[in-house]
Assembly symmetry: C2
Homo-oligomer: 358 residues x 2
């Protein structure tokens, strides 16, 4: 199949920290992005809003967007309240009429919407519900601890701090160094970028670890290193169960802790300022101790997201995190990713030596 | 509605440790149990197989069972492999023809089976799929930490060690002492016993904590103490995500750690003897530290399941656990539940004092 050309819907919420799915598609597949639909920023370029993405236009209506000839419409943000607004449903209907497929990463499946499903059928278009889990997932049984490659999982201090982005950057650099590295997508955005994966937050709760195990086994084929995309955070009041199932199911040999430097509170509860993000060293201890209850592992580096800081500030944050934890630290998007790439390469050497010794 | 009279299907797996759902219904609602269907033990009484349950007969065929006039057939074990055997489907068809409803706690819903669903419709009978989660569950937002009653969650060293049974025993005794106590069912068996609840292992992964929060709020109405049924274990390779989501979503003020004294390995992996169960004191530390990342709590007692030990051995296990952890310990089914009941009552006094002081 030919690569899709996306019109990304991010109406009302397009921005550096708000439209995570849209931004990741633009970062990793700018060539696939025809335009972004957001009435608030219509007329500007993506570069002007995000600080990357170049001349990709932002349009103010579905009609303008469709005129640019996309093959697919991709839902690039979660609408407020979680439900698809009536206006968006009308847009998606227009897009199907114009011959587009739809890519949807929301918890609500478009194939469950009788009107859109009927229209897609009639027009011969596809509704890709990327969070729809496969049938017959296994219960995890520890198979992931026996795979050949080194398995590295990103873990976070919160949601939306850069766990996927870190792995994508590192995958690229490790492969450039000749270390065969595969990225394992565990969320809808990663799946959109890679074309395979399972959204582990959308499976039935008993199968979180089983999905993680299946993904790790699948990613291990013909790879030296497997970089598993992390989800949520071990202290996230809503999503910690997904985080732990992923941690225990993928049996990682090493962890990279991801943090957004300017964030002080667990994000989804920012208004209430409920949960202050504890020091990174506390996260290191907590992740290592709870992981070790199933499979021993250790944090080998810190990945910071410093998008909203000055260069000087960003550098200072990296230095401080490195001091506080004693671990190699970088922002792999902004600075050289070498500290983390080296940490993974060294860990792989150690891992191969230990394996041989056994 | 009148209480159901169950014919419990436990064919091929009826026994003290194998048929958890069947056994719990029999323990808490013997008056609702007309018979058990198990060809292997047909002709014996439930008492002879389980050590409790009295003269309830075990029959060897659906026809014999239906002749005893049950109002409902209840699936009391998980069939090997998880799929409903063809033979069982035929039995359930017979039961619907005879005018029975079906109670099903399996992950597979009978209402998704076209043949059984059509037959139930035609006969006007109900298929109760108890693991079917409600629509529109919330994402947890910390509401459970603000409820009025003292919230106590059971946590375990493994699955199937007595987390539900402990809470049911304690609910009964606390109410007898005049402390208004409500049991909150989080699994299919608890739901069968209480007539309400959510099977938190069957919700979409992102909503585990949200389901736990909803249940805790619901259980808090007109109660002094809420006893939440725990699930799985923090170090269970398959189910730990459910355990943590429940722990963070219900924001318990206190925990009771449950263990089956004779068990050495995490149960579902017994053949591989993969994961040795660590000392109880390690569990206390791990549960408290991972819970505190969202809401501070502490383990206030140990509940042992000693069903397979002699009286002397059982008493010795309680003494040893109490020594190892410094916490009040009992087997609330076998011995006096007072040590745990007192621990909860004391914790409630302390809790009310702290609240008042704030």
């Amino acid at each position: 199949m030919t690569a899709p050309r996306f019109l990304i819907v991010a109406d009302g919420d397009f921005g550096p920290m708000t439209s995570k799915t849209a931004n990741s598609i633009i970062r990793y597949h700018p060539e696939r992005t025809a335009a972004v639909l957001d009435r608030q920023h219509a007329g500007r370029t993506v570069q002007e809003v995000l600080g990357f993405g170049g001349a990709i236009p932002i349009v103010g209506s579905m009609r303008e967007g469709l005129a640019l000839g996309p093959s697919s419409v991709l839902i690039g943000i979660a609408p407020k309240g979680g439900q698809l607004p009536a206006e968006w449903r009308a847009w998606l209907g227009e897009a199907l009429d114009a011959g587009c497929d739809i890519w949807n990463g929301l918890h609500n499946f478009l194939s469950d919407d009788p009107t859109l499903a009927a229209k897609a059928r009639a027009r011969g278009r596809a509704l890709h519900d990327l969070r729809q889990p496969p049938a017959d997932l296994p219960i995890a049984s520890g198979l992931a601890k026996a795979v050949d490659p080194l398995v590295v999982l990103t873990v976070g201090t919160d949601c939306n701090v850069g766990k996927m982005t870190a792995q994508l950057q590192l995958t690229r650099t490790l492969n450039e160094r000749g270390i065969r590295t595969r990225f394992v997508p565990t969320g809808q955005t990663g799946i959109m970028i890679e074309g395979w994966g399972i959204a582990v937050d959308a499976v039935v709760a008993d199968f979180i670890a089983g999905a993680a195990e299946w993904l790790t086994l699948e990613g291990s084929k013909q790879a030296d290193v497997v970089l598993v995309e992390g989800q949520g955070s071990i202290n996230h009041p809503g999503y910690s169960g997904v985080t732990l199932g992923l941690l225990h199911g993928s049996c990682p040999d090493a962890l990279i802790l991801c943090h957004q430097s300017s964030r002080q509170y667990i994000g989804d509860y920012r208004e209430a300022a409920w949960l202050r993000i504890p020091p990174l060293a506390d996260y290191v201890r907590l992740y290592e101790s709870v992981a070790a209850a199933v499979h021993p592992t250790r944090v080998i580096g810190i990945s910071l997201n410093t998008y909203d800081l000055s260069d000087v500030e960003a550098r200072r944050m990296c230095d401080r995190a490195q001091q506080d934890t004693g671990l190699p630290t970088t922002d792999p998007v902004r600075f050289d990713s070498a500290p983390l790439v080296n940490a993974i390469a060294d860990e792989r050497t150690r891992y191969l030596r230990t394996r041989k010794a056994q």
